[in-house]
């Protein structure tokens, strides 16, 4: 449980590196803020130019108090601030002059210290002169209407001018924009470090350091008011008893706290997964911040591993589908292995809030890189199955935890957010720790698949059934690794459930073909009776078989070869039943386990036309379920 230490280590390894978005890892006492108003000054202190231009993630220098400000008398940031704080005389237009006083105090304190730069003096003088508002009005950045400012339009939004964030530039300097000036940032860090803070043992480094009194918030998203470490609960008995105040219970160095929180904020923004507002999962490598994605399906996994789009093969069922998938997975894992060295640590961390204002660490693992990749590989391999999650998402691989949750628990296309979060959370130890799949999820997926085979709404129902089928087969396969189910049709498997699944697929195919030939849109008997079939296979099969007679007659005249193929397959399945244990397995009317879905899916895929064998007249085009739309 040394997450603060790991975050500080990640900060030390990644800060200042020259990679793409590593500049967004901000230094101590700096947070990202979207600013809207850009004011440029002459080096001699005169106003030069102003414009409304929005810049996201502008580094904002904050003090310990201003980062967590709230209430009626908030603390001010020293440099980049809202217009209400920067403008002298704002009380004429509805602002609070106390805010300006605080801002000026902070800015002059910094300017008069030993850590100031010439640009600061220019800006400070300009602020003191108080001509900001007049200059803005003169340049028509702000317009007056009845002694009050009109709202300023940015894009499609209209913002209150007093709440606009101002960033400063001084032209003529080597680096005119104050927010990109790394020298200024370094000076600010030094200035903050020089401030007096109580000395105490830092519980992360083990040394006596200046300790933080308040810890940052706004970690997961910019409006996030939750704190990971909070210490002002004097009345709530969270530490009272042996300890009299919060510093006795928790003392963390200021630099350590800032580094850890900044790193976490940056990592979450860069590569975090979020459900809803609060639940967040982030995985990172301590040395290089990158990590393979955890809670994604195989399709996304391959893409993140850098597989080019042209390389992704068509989602056509091939005899060696399993082998192809294994090759792709190996390549992706190999790609990640190259990026890291074996001794690197990967940290996986999950956060959530029960109440606004506080965050809890739900899940925390430190794993060695090699071990982590092995577990991810195991997850993707054991759950691999042809998936059909949407129009452009047909792939062979493991489903995403979010899709697993939806397949198990979605009703009327909606799933309760708490249930979605809880299910994803339950699957994390299966992915990261290698634990066995929860049995109730497997059963729930099978049950919901069987239930939606009969599609009242043809369009929506189709995708729902396909997705659920893929997920249920994946889960069942993953939950029974010893059985070693193959992704393609296994014609030698003689287990009762698998064979019954095959029979159902064959009946469904015959009737589907006949309906297609007759151009009738209807669910097949097999689809309608799937739930009953799962509960009482033998008696339901009799019903289905009887219903097939007219369709067989119909097909004998129009699609004889296709019919012949299917009927011979049915005979083959009957034979396999015989070889297993005589007739008793077939006659057994006990409910089927999820294995029958594996048989169903494999057989159905095997009956689909193989596109590169289009010359073969025997392989008549079987209508895909989609043709019944």
């Amino acid at each position: 449980m040394s997450w603060i230490q790991k975050l500080v280590e990640t900060y030390d390894a990644c800060f200042g590196q020259d990679r793409d978005d590593f500049q967004k890892l901000l230094s101590i006492s700096t947070v990202p803020q979207t600013t809207q108003l850009h004011v440029e000054l002459h080096p001699d202190g005169a106003f030069f130019h102003a414009e409304i231009s929005e810049l996201e993630d502008t580094p904002l220098f904050v003090t310990e108090d201003s980062a967590t400000r709230s209430g009626k008398d908030p603390d001010a940031n020293p440099l980049t601030e809202q217009l209400e704080y920067c403008a002298k005389g704002i009380d004429k237009y509805g602002g609070k002059s106390s805010k300006f006083d605080r801002y000026l105090a902070e800015l002059t304190a910094w300017t008069n210290s030993e850590f100031s730069t010439p640009a600061l003096h220019v800006i400070c003088a300009y602020i003191q002169s108080g001509s900001l508002l007049d200059d803005l009005i003169r340049n028509r950045i702000l317009t007056l209407k009845d002694k009050e400012f009109e709202k300023v339009a940015i894009g499609k939004r209209k913002l209150d001018p007093l709440k606009l964030w101002v960033r400063w530039s001084v032209i003529g300097e080597q680096q005119s924009a104050t927010w990109s000036d790394s020298n200024l940032a370094a000076q600010w860090t030094e200035f903050e470090n020089s401030k007096n803070r109580p000395l105490a043992l830092c519980m992360e480094s083990g040394k006596i350091e200046k300790c933080a009194q308040k810890h940052p918030k706004r970690i997961r998203y910019s409006a996030d008011n939750s704190k990971l470490l909070s210490s002002n609960d004097k009345n709530g008995f969270t530490y009272l008893g042996r300890f009299m105040d919060a510093n006795q219970a928790l003392s963390l160095g200021y630099a350590q706290s800032q580094k850890a929180h900044n790193t976490l904020r940056w990592l979450i923004q860069r590569q975090g997964t979020r459900i809803g507002k609060d639940w967040t999962l982030v995985a990172w490598s301590i040395k290089s911040a990158d990590a393979p994605p955890v809670a994604v399906d195989s399709w996304q996994f391959f893409r993140d591993a850098g597989e080019a789009d042209e390389e992704a093969p068509e989602a056509v069922y091939e005899g060696d589908a399993g082998q192809l998938f294994a090759l792709r997975l190996k390549k992706a894992i190999g790609g990640y292995k190259q990026k890291f060295d074996d001794s690197a640590d990967i940290v996986v961390m999950g956060l959530d809030s029960a109440t606004p204002g506080r965050m809890a660490i739900l899940f925390y693992r430190e794993i060695k890189e090699a071990e982590f990749l092995t577990r991810l590989e195991r997850w993707h391999t054991s759950l691999a199955w042809p998936q059909n999650v949407g129009k452009d998402r047909r792939f062979i691989g493991a489903p995403a935890p979010c899709d697993i949750a939806k397949a198990c628990y979605e009703r009327n296309e909606k799933i309760d957010e708490k249930l979605l979060k809880a299910t994803q959370e339950r699957l994390l130890p299966c992915i990261v720790d290698g634990r066995p799949l929860p049995r109730d999820l497997v059963l729930a997926a099978v049950a919901s698949t069987v239930k939606c085979a009969y599609r009242k709404d043809q369009k929506k129902g189709y995708w729902e059934f396909e997705r659920n089928l893929g997920v249920a087969c994946s889960l069942y396969r993953g939950a029974h690794p010893k059985e070693n189910y193959s992704m393609s049709l296994d014609e030698s498997r003689t287990s009762r459930d698998y064979l019954y699944g095959r029979l159902l697929a064959l009946a469904d195919s015959i009737e589907g073909l006949a309906l297609n030939v007759a151009k009738v849109q209807r669910d097949t008997t097999a689809a309608r009776l799937m739930q009953r079939f799962a509960d009482r296979p033998y008696s339901t099969w009799r019903t289905i078989e009887l219903q097939l007679t007219p369709y067989i007659a119909q097909l004998r005249s129009s699609r004889a070869p296709a019919l012949q193929r299917r009927q011979s397959l049915i005979d083959a399945v009957y034979d396999l039943f015989e070889t297993r244990s005589g007739a008793s397995a077939f006659v057994d009317n006990r409910p089927l386990s999820g294995e029958f879905l594996l048989g169903f899916h494999s057989q159905r895929e095997a009956l689909k036309p193989r596109r590169h064998n289009s010359n073969d007249a025997e392989l008549e085009a079987t209508p895909e379920e989609g043709d019944n739309q």
Partner: protein, 271 residues
């Protein structure tokens, strides 16, 4: 077999197990969203020893602990009391648990949970001069052993009070453990124990921290006064509790009473 040269003669070896444990990380505790350390703290194990048998005459020192089950964590939503406005507030606690010992567990011993083997000994608390006469070699140890056989004198809990545990005598090192061949694992700065004034003799409360190193599943604790491994944090002034023989039952009386009570039980069990 314990090495008879380096192991103290009054070493108590026991097995402690439970469904959940919560060795609270002080960083998260103050905010109210408690999450557990992955390893037991010295203070928690010392507390278990004290629950088995304790007198102010001596101080327990935990020597080492062996982790038997693979570490897992489990989060639970809790509704702790809100002392300010009444009612409940919401929090998420992360408990420590472990792998089950068997596929289909029959009783709590086999189900998922934590399990440790602990080796601890005690030494006289020299700061209680008034209890000088109570320091009888052997009697305290005998009582401790008998209490352990009966599952401890007071409730055993693993970290927080809601994580109920059980103790039984065992031999340290026997049986397989999930970490036996895992080599060495380093952890960051972790809470070790508190320094209470009646055990240190100084009128201050302090906290100790150390950097654990798990070697093949065994964690060897340094003594709280071992300056090479322990980082100390001074907390506040505290008055030590004064014990005298007027407040503490002498050990001879304790042993007699225990013999009488347990002897009767033993005779009953034989019948």
């Amino acid at each position: 077999m314990p090495d008879s040269f380096t192991t103290p003669k009054n070493c108590l070896e026991f097995r402690v197990w439970g469904r959940y444990a919560l060795f609270t990380d002080p960083l998260t505790r103050v905010g109210g969203e408690k999450s557990s350390y992955h390893l037991p703290t010295y203070e928690a194990l010392k507390g278990i020893c004290k629950s088995i048998y304790w007198k102010p005459t001596f101080i327990w020192y935990v020597d080492k602990v062996r982790i038997l089950r693979r570490i897992r964590t489990q989060t639970r939503g809790m509704k702790p009391l809100d002392y300010i406005s009444g009612g409940n507030t919401l929090a998420i606690y992360t408990y420590l648990t472990g792998d089950a010992r068997a596929e289909n567990p029959v009783d709590i011993t086999d189900g998922p949970g934590v399990e440790y083997q602990v080796c601890a000994h005690f030494e006289w608390n020299t700061h209680h001069a008034a209890l000088d006469r109570d320091r009888v070699d052997g009697k305290h140890y005998a009582i401790a052993k008998r209490s352990l056989e009966r599952g401890g004198r007071q409730d055993i809990f693993l970290g927080t009070r809601d994580c109920q545990g059980y103790v039984a005598p065992c031999r340290f090192g026997e049986g397989p453990g999930d970490y036996d061949n895992d080599g060495s694992l380093d952890y960051g700065l972790t809470f070790h124990s508190f320094d209470y004034p009646d055990e240190t003799g100084m009128g201050r409360l302090g906290a100790n921290f150390w950097r654990p190193k798990l070697v093949n599943g065994v964690l060897t604790f340094p003594r709280p006064d071992d300056a090479s491994q322990i980082v100390k944090k001074d907390i506040r002034a505290m008055k030590p509790r004064a014990f005298g023989l007027d407040r503490v039952r002498p050990v001879e009386a304790e042993a007699e009473e225990l013999a009488a009570a347990t002897g009767a039980l033993d005779r009953e069990a034989e019948l």
